[in-house]
Symmetry: C2
Subunit: 248 residues, 2 copies
């Protein structure tokens, strides 16, 4: 028996998110089905980030246990032969049997992309959120700096999410503009449910002039979801990857 770690990229457009659902195809269910068929045993993967429907990934991490004699680093190539074009494993390797993608300490990075122009661009419609009104990038950048550090992010967590603590550390929150694309890049030690999308929705409100950057510390202090901005649409969000502290 060995434990194998996968790095998984996917276009989330056609999936009901990561986690197995009773109705609808998910990334996890597709991986389970094709891994079981490839390795000839029942495989159940466990993922690091249970991304929502429509969210994309370049480097989500999953593990599974297997009795296969196939070398762990060859599994990515064999599995990619079977997977649909919108899910591509980027790496596979063996990890210790107690290694777990959610309990291991790591730095997660997400990007939220906002296409800020007058007309929609059909070639970029699947992985960016189209926003028509001009956004003030400097205000967004200033607001983002207030989110960096250790804070209680309860105002930036979907109501009803069950977690022990809503305290998280954001190492970086950068807002980058390249031509008509605004990218919010956030790295943290963990994220609450919908946290990056609520950060994006709030920074868009800042860019539009509805919230001033200096209100961000107040929004954090109040610990009230109702005073942060809306949850930005899923399709603008991409899980970029996870850097774990220990090298496996």
């Amino acid at each position: 028996m060995k434990r194998v770690k996968l790095v998984v990229a996917y276009d989330g457009t056609n999936y009901c998110g990561w986690q197995v659902q009773p109705n609808g195809e998910t990334i996890e269910s597709v991986l389970n089905r094709h891994l079981s068929s490839l390795l000839g045993e029942e495989i159940v993967v466990t993922g690091a980030s249970r991304t929502d429907s429509g969210v994309h990934s370049l480097g989500n991490v999953a593990i599974f246990d297997t009795n296969t004699r196939m070398p762990a680093d060859k599994i990515s190539f064999a599995l990619n032969q079977k997977l649909p074009a919108d899910i591509v494993v980027q790496d596979s390797c063996e990890v210790p049997s107690d290694w777990h993608p959610r309990y291991q300490k790591g730095r997660k990075t997400y990007e939220y992309r906002i296409l800020n122009r007058t007309f929609r661009d059909p070639t970029r419609r699947w992985n960016s959120y189209f926003y028509y009104h001009a956004l003030d990038i400097e205000k967004m950048q200033k607001a983002a700096t207030y989110l960096e550090g250790e804070h209680d992010f309860k105002s930036f967590c979907a109501v009803g999410a069950q977690v022990k603590t809503t305290i998280r550390t954001i190492y970086h929150c950068k807002v980058i503009k390249e031509n008509d694309m605004i990218t919010i890049r956030v790295t943290g030690n963990g994220f609450l449910y919908n946290m990056v999308r609520i950060i994006a929705g709030t920074l868009i409100k800042v860019g539009a002039g509805d919230i001033v950057p200096e209100e961000i510390p107040i929004i954090l202090e109040k610990c009230d979801r109702a005073i942060a901005g809306p949850t930005a649409p899923a399709h603008g969000l991409t899980m970029i990857g996870i850097e774990y502290e220990e090298v496996e």
Copy 2:
């Protein structure tokens, strides 16, 4: 009667190219149908670039004649309400009644995108060509410079294409690498059938070491399609736009 110019962006993935075909949906047929419905008269558009099946565009240009009283600059907004999500008009304006997008002198720009990495990226699979083997960007850049200027591009034209002359001027041919994405950006006074895709296929051969940059002038001189590289796949190609000499 007035003549209206449209700037049209589209994701070519689900279309049989620009030009009306007996079987299969095309960009032109979708525009004709929705413009006719919007304006209440039979509309037939004429396009600048008859892009192939799978090729994308950010700024193809088309014209049509109409009796509508709707101001030309409002047509883009009204038409976008009707068009599917993969075709978006970026601009509409009135032009003189003898203005023609193919006969008017202009500079056309195309980009061919090559995703050069070990594993496919599912989030970028529709608008870039995945190429596994490492490409030597400096060789590609050197080869590209030989294509700039006025040349007979017969070697870079699909066999059987009927044109008066195969002489064209390329103003710029730049090869840009940003992380794992190589973009070939070409601006010229006009392009032969499949010309940009054959340039891309040839520059990939150069990057892979199968053709040395100094062979490009010889390939041009020979005027023989068989000695240039293969035609790179359609989905890597995007028509960026056309700058016309006269301002309308």
